[in-house]
């Protein structure tokens, strides 16, 4: 395995599309992305068989119920319907500087990074996705959350004119997700604006989505229009729909089965055999500390 120090990594090493076709250079990129994060070891340990999932799969196999409940729906219905510019995000709740801010102004002050993360869906499949975005912590800090802010709640756009799926009351729209503030501030948590070096496509949650790689995919909320700092734990959409099956934390945990799906293993898209699912999706080194003393079976 070729391991290049981060210093050798030019910007286009990580962004160049061809990189992903070249396995050896990809590994170098992944490790470099890891060292940018200061988490090189954790990532490197798991990268040997973490080839990025092909762009086509990442952009045509999506769970985005606002655009239909089948995995093929969003790629068909979202482009051409979702208007991603201009885009504003309303920030409020327990913070000193609430306000509504344009996407550009939200992202611009922060250095955009490329990060390759595993994504594990609660349904038992997984992908590896090269995201582009900014650390959520950098964005949140600017709104100066106060001492009452214990949680962050995110809201997806809910516009019937743009989202045909809203006509079916599968979930209580708008889609809502939440993180504990320390989870939101963890360096792994990304506010993504792109993947594979390009802007996010509508079906992937354009123009702005969360990526929380150690939690099941549904925590990584798409097309964010609202961010609120709260004192109380937010009630996320899936937990509201079925509290027995979906919890607030929803950390990837092979020991806690979902009643419908075994969480012990997963099918990596593009692979034939199932592979074992890793605790915290393999990011334990970076996040296990967040849950010291917490019963993860009870707080699933």
């Amino acid at each position: 395995m070729l391991i290049k120090p981060a210093a050798d990594l030019r910007d286009n090493d990580v962004t160049d599309h061809a990189l992903y076709l070249d396995r050896r250079r990809f590994l170098a990129g992944a490790v470099a992305a890891g060292s940018v994060l200061g988490v090189g070891r954790g990532l490197r340990a798991a990268t040997a068989d973490d080839t990025p999932t092909p762009f086509e799969a990442v952009t045509t196999y999506n769970n985005y119920y606002e655009f239909g409940t089948s995995k093929e729906d969003p790629a068909v219905t979202a482009p051409g319907r979702l208007k991603t510019a201009p885009w504003t995000v309303a920030v409020d709740g327990e913070c000193a500087k609430p306000g509504t801010i344009g996407l550009e102004d939200l992202i611009k002050p922060v250095q955009v990074e490329d990060r390759i993360y595993r994504l594990r869906c609660v349904e038992g499949w997984s992908m590896v996705i090269p995201w582009r975005g900014v650390p959520l912590s950098e964005v949140l800090k600017r709104f100066e959350p106060n001492s009452k802010a214990k949680y962050v709640e995110f809201t997806t756009l809910a516009d019937r004119a743009q989202m045909p799926g809203l006509r079916i009351p599968v979930l209580d729209w708008p889609y809502v997700e939440g993180l504990r503030l320390d989870e939101a501030m963890n360096p792994l948590t990304l506010l993504a604006t792109g993947l594979y070096g390009k802007d996010l496509l509508p079906q992937n949650g354009a123009p702005l989505r969360l990526v929380v790689p150690w939690k099941y995919g549904f925590k990584s909320i798409k097309s964010i229009v609202g961010i609120r700092f709260t004192e109380n734990q937010p009630l996320n959409s899936w937990q509201k729909y079925n509290p027995r099956e979906y919890g607030f934390y929803s950390n990837v945990n092979p020991q806690v089965d979902h009643p419908r799906w075994s969480q012990a293993n997963e099918r990596r898209i593009g692979e034939f055999r199932r592979r074992p699912t890793l605790m915290f999706n393999g990011y334990g080194e970076q996040v296990a500390g967040l849950y010291a003393g917490l019963d993860l079976k009870a707080n699933f």
Binding site: Y61, E123, W125, V170, D257, R260, S262, R267, R274
Partner: protein, 194 residues
């Protein structure tokens, strides 16, 4: 009506043929294992409901030849159930029998699916002419009423598998309710012997 059975037989093979074609050309989509398994599950349930529709259709249309299709359509339901189960055990779980057992015990929708399969199994095994003769028409007919709970389990299996959007299983549930309702009506209207 000599053409009827061969035509229906051939038509019943079209779904597997289509599947084989798609598989050969690698066009089962991004998650081929899921596509395969779900496709076979869909057709298993469709054939099961079709089998249950034969008698009401015959009574309704007064077209007697339909009766000859009942066994064949029922066996095709079992055929697709077997393929569905085989794709799950052989391809999805890759013969991990321990995992299958865990699934059957832990995951309600799989428990229901397995229940449906176990109810259909004796029906398929007793579908030959010689078995009908051996059991005698009365016992055979009683035994084959198991198809009703089997169909209910089949629909429940699909219903419980779905995460949130129950529209598709709902369609199957409504069709099943109509088919069962038809029998209830016939049963109530037929004078009962003591």
């Amino acid at each position: 009506m000599r053409w009827l059975k061969p035509v229906v037989f051939t038509a019943s093979l079209l779904p597997v043929a289509w599947l084989g074609w798609q598989a050969a050309y690698g066009s089962l989509g991004i998650n081929p294992v899921e596509t395969l398994n779900r496709f076979l599950g869909d057709w298993a349930l469709r054939f099961l409901l079709l089998a249950l529709a034969v008698t009401p259709l015959r009574q309704w249309t007064h077209w007697a030849p339909l009766a000859r299709l009942r066994r064949m359509v029922g066996l095709f339901a079992f055929f697709y159930v077997c393929l569905h189960l085989a794709s799950y055990v052989g391809i999805d779980l890759f013969f991990d029998w321990a995992a299958l057992w865990k699934d059957v015990v832990k995951r309600t929708y799989i428990t229901l699916g397995m229940g449906c399969f176990l109810l259909l199994l004796p029906l398929a095994l007793t579908s030959t002419d010689s078995m009908i003769r051996r059991l005698g028409g009365k016992v055979w007919r009683k035994l084959h009423r198991l198809v009703f709970p089997a169909a209910i389990l089949g629909v429940a299996h699909f219903w419980m598998m779905v995460k949130a959007d129950i529209r598709e299983p709902l369609v199957y549930a409504v069709i099943l309710a109509v088919l069962l309702g038809w029998r209830l009506r016939t049963f109530v209207r037929t004078p009962q012997r003591a």
